[in-house]
C-alpha cells in the first residue's frame, strides 16, 4: 500500500496550479470566491483558455483532444480547478454528451461535434428529465417519430440546466412506444434553433434562473443526428450516468468553502467573541471536515482502482461519493449561511437594483442563504440520494 501521490503527480499539481494562477481571469476568480455561479461568458472564456493548453477535455481519448492523463492526474486537475476556484469545463459538453458521441457516435458525428464541444463553440444541454419521468427516467414520454430523413419530436423536457445558454440539446426520446420502457428509447442531438423548440425558465427557490422547461412541438431533426442505434438510447443514458465517477464528490470545492467558512467565522462576532470560539459551531464544522477527509480517501481508492484495472467492475466506494459528496456540500452551505447570521437574509445582490448607496451587508454574506437554498438540489439531481441507496441495495448488497 502506498497512499501518497507520486513526486511526478505532485509536480503535475504544481504545474496545474501555476497555469491557473497565470491564466485564470482575476474577475472570474473573484466572482467565484464570492460564491456566485460563473456567467456564460466566464465559462466560455476559461474553457477556451484550457482548450488552447490542451486541457479542456481531460477524460477524452488523445485522438479527440484529450491530454492522455491518468485517473490521478484528472483528479488533481479537477481538484485544483475547484480550489482555485475556477469554472470547470462545461460538464454537458465534456463529461456527458462528448463521451457518448465518442463511444457510440459515427465518424462524421465525432468530427462534426467533438472539436466544437471541446472549444465550447457549442453549448450543450441535457434533455433527459420530464414532468412524469424523474427518478423513473425510463418512463419518459417525449416521442420521436421517423418521417423520411427526419425525426419529428414532440414532448416536454424539464429541469434542463442552462438551456437558456444552449446551442444544442441531447434528447432521450421514445422511438418505440410498444417495447419495454428501456428498449424503446433513442439518443438524439438537436439544434436549439430548430423551429418548434420553446425554452421557458423555471425560477428556483433562491430566485436564480438555472433550470428550464423545454417544449418540443413538431421539431424536425435530421435522421443523421441519432447517436448509436435506434431504440438503444438507454445504453447511451446508462453510459453517460455511469461516467459520473468523481464529479459529485467535489472534495476540492468543499475544502475551498470550508476555508472560506473559517475566514468568515474568525471575523464574525457572536456573543462578543469570534464565532470560531463557539464550541458548538466549531464542532459542527469539524464533523464535516472529518467526513470530507474520509471522502477524499474514498476518492483516492476509486482512482487507484481505476488506474490498476479498468475492469469496469463497480466499486462500492463509488456509490459513497454521490451521497457523501452532496451531504458535505449541503452541510457546508448551511454553516456558511449560519455564519453570516442575519446578513445572509439579503435577497440577491441589492447593488444590482442600482441602489448601492448603503452597504447593507458585508460583501461575503451576499448569496449565502441563496446557495444554501439552491444546493438542496444536490441530493435530488443526478439520481436522488434515495435512488443511490436503491442502486446500492441491488448492486452491492444483493437485496
Amino acid at each position: 500500500m502506498d497512499l501518497n501521490f507520486s513526486p511526478e503527480e505532485l509536480a503535475f499539481r504544481q504545474e496545474v496550479r501555476d497555469f491557473i494562477d497565470a491564466n485564470l481571469p482575476p474577475a472570474t476568480r473573484q466572482h467565484l470566491i464570492e460564491g456566485k455561479g460563473p456567467t456564460k461568458e466566464m465559462v466560455v472564456e476559461w474553457q477556451r483558455i484550457l482548450n488552447k493548453r490542451g486541457w479542456a477535455v481531460p477524460e477524452w481519448p488523445v485522438e479527440w483532444g484529450g491530454p492522455g492523463w491518468s485517473a490521478a492526474q484528472r483528479y488533481i486537475f479537477r481538484e485544483e480547478l475547484q480550489m482555485a476556484p475556477a469554472p470547470s469545463p462545461l460538464g454537458f459538453n465534456v463529461n456527458m454528451c462528448g463521451p457518448v458521441v465518442i463511444q457510440f457516435g459515427t465518424e462524421e458525428q465525432k468530427k462534426r461535434f467533438l472539436p466544437r464541444m471541446a472549444n465550447l463553440d457549442d453549448w450543450w444541454c441535457q434533455g433527459f428529465s420530464e414532468p412524469g419521468a424523474g427518478s423513473d427516467l425510463a418512463g419518459l414520454k417525449t416521442r420521436a417519430v421517423r418521417e423520411g430523413d427526419e425525426w419529428v419530436i414532440n414532448g416536454q423536457k424539464t429541469w434542463t440546466t442552462l438551456a437558456q445558454h444552449a446551442d444544442w440539446i441531447f434528447v432521450l426520446a421514445r422511438t418505440n412506444p410498444t417495447a419495454k420502457k428501456q428498449e424503446g428509447i433513442s439518443f438524439i442531438l438537436c439544434d436549439m434553433k430548430t423551429p418548434g423548440i420553446t425554452v421557458r425558465p423555471i425560477i428556483t427557490i433562491e430566485g436564480g434562473h438555472e433550470v428550464n422547461e423545454v417544449f418540443f412541438d413538431n421539431v424536425r431533426v435530421p435522421a443523421e443526428n441519432l447517436v448509436g442505434e435506434e431504440n438503444k438510447g438507454w445504453d447511451c443514458a446508462k453510459f453517460l450516468l455511469g461516467n459520473e465517477r468523481f464529479g459529485q464528490a467535489r472534495v476540492g470545492a468543499s475544502r475551498e468553502r470550508i476555508r472560506r467558512l473559517k475566514v468568515i467565522a474568525a471575523q464574525t462576532l457572536d456573543g462578543g467573541e469570534p464565532l470560531m470560539a463557539d464550541p458548538e459551531f466549531r464542532r459542527q464544522m469539524t464533523e464535516i471536515e472529518v467526513e470530507l477527509k474520509a471522502l477524499e480517501m474514498t476518492v483516492m481508492r476509486v482512482i487507484a482502482q481505476d488506474m490498476k484495472r479498468r475492469d469496469g467492475k463497480p466499486n462500492p466506494a463509488t456509490s459513497v461519493l454521490k451521497i457523501k459528496g452532496t451531504e458535505i456540500q449541503q452541510g457546508v452551505s448551511e454553516l456558511l449561511m449560519k455564519a453570516a447570521g442575519p446578513y445572509a437574509w439579503v435577497d440577491g445582490d441589492p447593488d444590482a437594483e442600482g441602489t448601492n448607496q448603503w452597504d447593507v451587508a458585508p460583501d461575503w454574506a451576499y448569496g449565502l442563504a441563496g446557495t444554501y437554498f439552491n444546493w438542496r438540489k444536490q441530493s435530488i439531481y443526478g439520481g436522488s440520494n434515495e435512488i443511490q441507496r436503491n442502486i446500492m441495495a441491488k448492486a452491492f448488497l444483493g437485496l
Binding site: M1, K293, I323
Partner: protein, 381 residues
C-alpha cells in the same frame, strides 16, 4: 497511490485468516473465553508460530521488521474473529511503547521473548480521574538507589492480568495534569508491591485494576521526565490498528445482517425486500466504506512526524471510526431484530467490541472536541 496489498502482506493475511478459520469459530472462541485465563494459550502459541507476535519489531531486536500497515492488517483479521488473546495489548500497544521508548538493550532482551510468546505486555496508563487524558497522571515515580519505585492506582489496564511486564505511566515531576514530568516505566508483574485484580470486560476481553505500592521499576522507557510524547505516539499507532479492527468487525456485522435480511421472511417475503430496511443497509455500507477509507488515512496520520498534525489526523480517525461503529453496530442489531439480542448469536458480540473499541484511547466525542479545539483539519489560509 496503491491500496492493494503487497505479496508479502497477502501471504501474512492469508496465514492469519487460515489459522482463524480453523481455530476461531464463534463456539471455539466461547470456550477460550470460558477458560481460566479467559483466552487460549494454545492460540497464543499458534500466533507465535505464524510470526504475528514479533511482527512490528526491528529485525536486529529479534522481530520481523514489519510496518504499521502490516500490524493493521492483522488487527482487521483479529477484528473479524473477535480475538480475545492479549495480542493488542502486547504487540500493538506495549510493542509501540517498547519500540519508541525502549533502549536497545531492553528491546533485545524483551523482543525475542515477546515473539516467542513468553512475555506479554500491558499499558497501565488509565487512572480513576484521568478518563481519556493521557497526561492526567497521579501515580508517582521516585528515585530509589539506581532505579525507581512506583506508587499509585491504575485502572482498566487491558489484559493487565495476563501481562508479564507492565508499562506504567507515572509522574516524576509537576502537578497531576501537567504535560511534562511523566515517565514510562517497566514494572514486572511479579515485582514486590504490585497487586493485580483481573476481571472480564463487556467485549469478552480481560482487564485489570492494578495497585502499585513502592513497586520497583526494572526500566524506564526513554526520558523519565518526557514520556508523554512516546505515549502519544503509542496511542496514535494503536488507534490506527483499532481503526482496522473496527472495520473488520463492521464488515462481519454487516455481512451477517445482509444474510439475515435475505433469509428471514415476514409478511410472506424476505425482510430484505423492504425498501426502508434496504436503505438502512445501504447507509451501513456508506459508513463502512468511509470508515475503511479513514483507516487507510489512519496509517498515514499515525506516521506523521509533526506531533500536532498527527494529533489532529488521529482525532479525525477516531471520530469517523467511532461514528461508523455506532451506526453499524446499532443497526446490525436493529435489522436482525430479537435474535441479535441473544448472547448465543454472534452479532451482538461484534456490537459490544465495536462499542469498546470506540472508547479505547478516547471516544469519538472526546476526539471531536479535541479536533474542534485545535481548529479542525482544513487550514483557514
Amino acid at each position: 497511490m496503491d491500496f492493494d496489498l503487497t505479496e508479502d502482506q497477502s501471504l501474512l493475511v492469508d496465514s492469519v485468516r487460515k489459522l482463524l478459520s480453523d481455530k476461531y469459530g464463534f463456539e471455539q472462541r466461547k470456550a477460550y473465553m470460558a477458560s481460566e485465563r479467559g483466552w487460549s494459550p494454545e492460540l497464543w502459541a499458534a500466533f507465535a508460530d505464524i510470526g504475528v507476535l514479533g511482527l512490528p519489531f526491528a529485525e536486529e531486536d529479534g522481530g520481523f521488521g514489519a510496518g504499521l500497515t502490516d500490524t493493521c492488517l492483522i488487527a482487521e483479521q483479529f477484528g473479524r474473529s473477535l480475538v480475545v488473546e492479549p495480542w493488542f495489548s502486547t504487540v500493538v500497544i506495549g510493542g509501540a511503547a517498547l519500540r519508541h521508548g525502549g533502549s536497545a538493550a531492553l528491546r533485545q532482551e524483551l523482543v525475542p521473548l515477546i515473539a516467542a510468546g513468553e512475555v506479554r505486555l500491558a499499558l497501565a496508563q488509565q487512572e480513576r480521574q484521568s478518563r481519556y487524558d493521557l497526561f492526567d497522571v497521579a501515580t508517582t515515580a521516585k528515585k530509589s538507589g539506581s532505579g525507581w519505585v512506583i506508587s499509585g492506582n491504575k485502572g482498566m489496564v487491558i489484559h493487565g492480568d495476563s501481562a508479564t511486564h507492565l508499562i506504567v505511566s507515572a509522574r516524576v515531576a509537576g502537578g497531576q495534569r501537567d504535560k511534562a514530568g511523566i515517565g514510562l516505566f517497566v514494572v514486572e508483574a511479579g515485582a514486590p508491591g504490585v497487586t493485580i485484580r483481573g476481571f472480564r470486560t463487556v467485549d469478552g476481553q480481560r482487564a485489570a485494576e492494578i495497585i502499585l505500592d513502592n513497586a520497583p521499576a526494572a526500566h524506564v522507557l526513554g526520558d523519565a521526565e518526557a514520556g508523554l510524547p512516546v505515549l502519544e505516539k503509542v496511542a496514535a499507532e494503536s488507534i490506527a490498528a483499532l481503526a482496522f479492527e473496527a472495520v473488520g468487525c463492521m464488515d462481519v456485522a454487516h455481512a451477517m445482517t445482509l444474510d439475515y435480511m435475505k433469509t428471514r421472511e415476514q409478511f410472506g417475503r424476505p425482510i430484505g425486500s423492504f425498501q426502508a430496511l434496504q436503505h438502512r443497509a445501504a447507509d451501513m455500507l456508506v459508513a463502512i466504506e468511509q470508515a475503511r477509507s479513514m483507516s487507510f488515512y489512519a496509517v498515514q496520520a499515525a506516521e506523521e512526524t509533526d506531533p500536532d498534525e498527527r494529533r489532529r489526523g488521529i482525532s479525525a480517525v477516531k471520530v469517523q471510526i467511532g461514528r461508523a461503529s455506532r451506526l453499524v453496530g446499532q443497526q446490525s442489531i436493529q435489522l436482525h431484530g430479537g435474535i441479535a439480542m441473544t448472547m448465543e448469536y454472534a452479532c451482538g458480540h461484534y456490537f459490544k467490541r465495536l462499542t469498546v473499541n470506540d472508547g479505547l484511547f478516547g471516544n469519538a466525542d472526546f476526539h471531536l472536541r479535541a479536533l474542534a479545539d485545535e481548529g479542525g483539519l482544513v487550514r483557514a489560509a
